[in-house]
């Protein structure tokens, strides 16, 4: 193992890590807002990837151009899921935690079933997109262009999210609702509207990552499941409720995964991520940047 291979895999680990962060941030945003873990998060990613695929196949829209469209579509989808399902789940007077887990888990199963029904279980991929399969050499290190662009999109999205939360009225309403949902009702903010927009925003972010993922990853009905678990670990590692934590958690997960892949057989690369999660929460039970 030369220094070059190590740097090479750490660099691609970093790129992948930024993407993991982007996948996870929607989850972190929704959790921070209303303490709900969306167990259909992976399926949100899945439909975003399918949407990108079909826009490419039927309308010849490159995934890069499709990304904003997919994000907008997922925004609407996320808000609708909140209004139709989650709104009622959080109202449950008994077993609130389990009801949230299982109503969103039920949604995940329905979405997978619908994907199988309409799209068949076949593996799809976007071939001949602008970026697909290209690599670029930076200082002797080869980087895959789709992942590189994905990482840049992730950084841009985090920057925009930061400004959005801190500089806009809606962002402030989001922060206020998350601090005290009862008090915001007194000043005339409709809690349901904020939650619906929060779900929309969270889904839009995962839509963005789905569009990028579609460039270089196979698309099939169960694709979300493997990424969802990584996203939960990423969010928990960074600390539930912390958007910045999801960003940092993503980078750590990407680097740990790349390092594990160097040391262990490739099929065991996820073990490193899980082990680091356990190590972190055993030392810091609230994750790296979690509050309370």
């Amino acid at each position: 193992m030369t220094a070059e291979t190590i740097i090479q895999s750490l660099a691609s680990g970093l790129l992948m890590g930024l993407l993991y962060g982007l996948i996870a941030v929607g989850l972190a945003l929704i959790f921070g807002l209303m303490d709900v873990v969306n167990f259909a998060h992976g399926e949100f990613l899945m439909i975003a990837m399918y949407a990108t695929f079909f826009l490419f196949v039927f309308f010849a829209i490159d995934p890069l151009l499709a990304a904003p469209l997919v994000a907008a579509a997922l925004f609407v989808f996320g808000a609708v899921v909140y209004l139709l399902i989650v709104r009622f789940a959080v109202r449950a007077k008994a077993n609130a935690g389990m009801v949230q887990i299982f109503s969103t888990f039920g949604l995940a199963i329905v979405m997978r079933g619908l994907a199988q029904y309409f799209f068949t279980p076949d593996y799809r991929s976007v071939t001949h997109s602008w970026l697909g399969g290209k690599t670029v050499s930076v200082a002797g290190i080869f980087l895959p262009v789709p992942q590189l662009v994905g990482a840049l999109v992730a950084i841009a999205a985090f920057g925009a999210l930061y400004l959005f939360i801190n500089r806009t009225d809606f962002g402030r309403a989001l922060e206020a609702t998350r601090e005290d949902a009862g008090a915001v009702a007194l000043v005339g903010i409709d809690k349901n509207k904020v939650f619906a927009l929060g779900w929309g925003l969270g889904a839009a972010l995962v839509g963005l990552s789905g569009a990028v993922m579609a460039i270089f990853f196979y698309i099939y009905p169960d694709v979300g499941a493997s990424f969802a678990l990584i996203a939960y670990v990423t969010v928990a590692l960074g600390g539930f409720g912390s958007v910045f934590g999801a960003f940092a958690g993503g980078i750590i997960v990407g680097l740990v995964e790349a390092t594990t892949a160097l040391l262990l057989p490739p099929s065991l690369k996820a073990v490193g991520i899980y082990a680091v999660y356990l190590l972190v929460v055993f030392i810091r039970p609230r994750g790296l940047f979690g509050s309370m």
Partner: protein
């Protein structure tokens, strides 16, 4: 507790005895193998969910990693039998003990975690074990283990000609899991667990040894689930990591309890009696097309029940437990 509580506990016991006796004679009249198969699975999932309910329902420590104990039970039995010729009954006991010890060893660091951090830790630990089994060549790696058929006998716990012996074992397992829950419900442990679930800090201040009571719940729960896994391995006579340890199994184990009524005595069995036949029927009648309609029906049902009756279905049947089912 007052005498009406004691009376209702006695009534639970009588109802359970009558149900078990009725269930025991059913397969004498229902000879259809397909239906018998569904009955075996229903009883097994009922027993598994009842065991899961001890840790996650009564004690409130929600585990979504119980598939690990299920898999360890199945693997211990299968490996001891195929590699060393040890009878499955010893494998079952061994798998149960290994799981109980493991549950306590893992509980030691994990029970400090709360809420979602705990849930994710249970998922992640089960995933690590799953990946290790995937790569463990001696245990068949991803190919799994074919359990060789050595003829029908109770000694080897293998039956090729009839499903009845499996049915009676599954029934016995469901009865044991139910009885253990019934017994624990009114024991010192049962009260401790509910106190820990409602408010661990208050419980601690009142002298409940929170940590030990979590450990106890984890050990009992893991032991019973491992016995179930051991049974399942013998029943299907082929196991691989994904089919006995996959994450789906952990969710499927929790589902009957959640739908029936989490932290209740009858919830898991009620949930299993409704859910398992429905799953199997949708799978064979509309799932045969391989197009996911069964998933749509199943998922829709989960959403509907969990939103419509968050306290579980059990309250519909017993007015007394309406208040208790929280």
């Amino acid at each position: 507790m007052d005498t009406s509580f004691a009376r209702s506990r006695r009534r639970d016991l009588i109802v359970a005895f009558c149900l078990a006796a009725t269930a025991a004679v059913v397969p004498l009249f229902v000879k259809d193998v397909y239906v018998q198969n569904i009955m075996v699975l229903t009883l097994m999932w009922g027993a598994l969910s009842q065991s899961w309910n001890i840790l996650s329902g009564y004690c409130g420590q929600i585990s979504l990693g119980h598939a690990m104990y299920f898999g360890i039970g199945a693997y211990t039995t299968a490996l001891l039998f195929t590699k060393f010729g040890v009878l499955p009954w010893f494998g079952m006991l061994g798998g149960g003990i290994i799981s109980a010890v493991l549950a306590m060893a893992l509980g030691y660091p994990c029970f400090r975690l709360r809420g979602h951090y705990f849930v994710i830790a249970t998922i992640v630990i089960a995933e690590i074990v799953l990946l290790l089994f995937h790569n463990w060549d001696w245990a068949g790696a991803a190919m799994g283990i074919d359990i060789p058929v050595r003829g029908d006998s109770w000694l080897k716990f293998q039956f090729t000609r009839s499903k009845l012996p499996y049915f009676y074992f599954a029934l016995a397992l469901a009865c044991v899991a139910w009885f253990v829950t019934w017994w624990l419900e009114d024991s010192k442990w049962g009260y401790w667990w509910r106190a820990v679930k409602d408010n661990p800090d208050a419980a601690e201040s009142l002298g409940v040894v929170v940590f030990n009571s979590k450990m106890g719940a984890a050990a009992v729960s893991a032991f019973l689930v491992a016995v179930g896994g051991s049974f399942y391995g013998q029943f299907v006579s082929y196991i691989d990591p994904e089919s006995v340890m996959g994450f789906q199994f952990s969710l499927l184990m929790a589902l009957p309890a959640v739908l029936g009524g989490i932290g209740t005595l009858w919830g898991p069995l009620l949930g299993a009696v409704i859910l398992i036949p429905l799953t199997e029927l949708t799978r064979s009648f509309i799932g045969g097309s391989g197009r996911g309609v069964d998933l749509i029906v199943y998922g829709g049902l989960i959403i509907a029940i969990s939103l419509a009756r968050p306290q579980g279905l059990v309250g519909l049947f017993s007015p007394r437990r309406k208040e208790a089912a929280r």
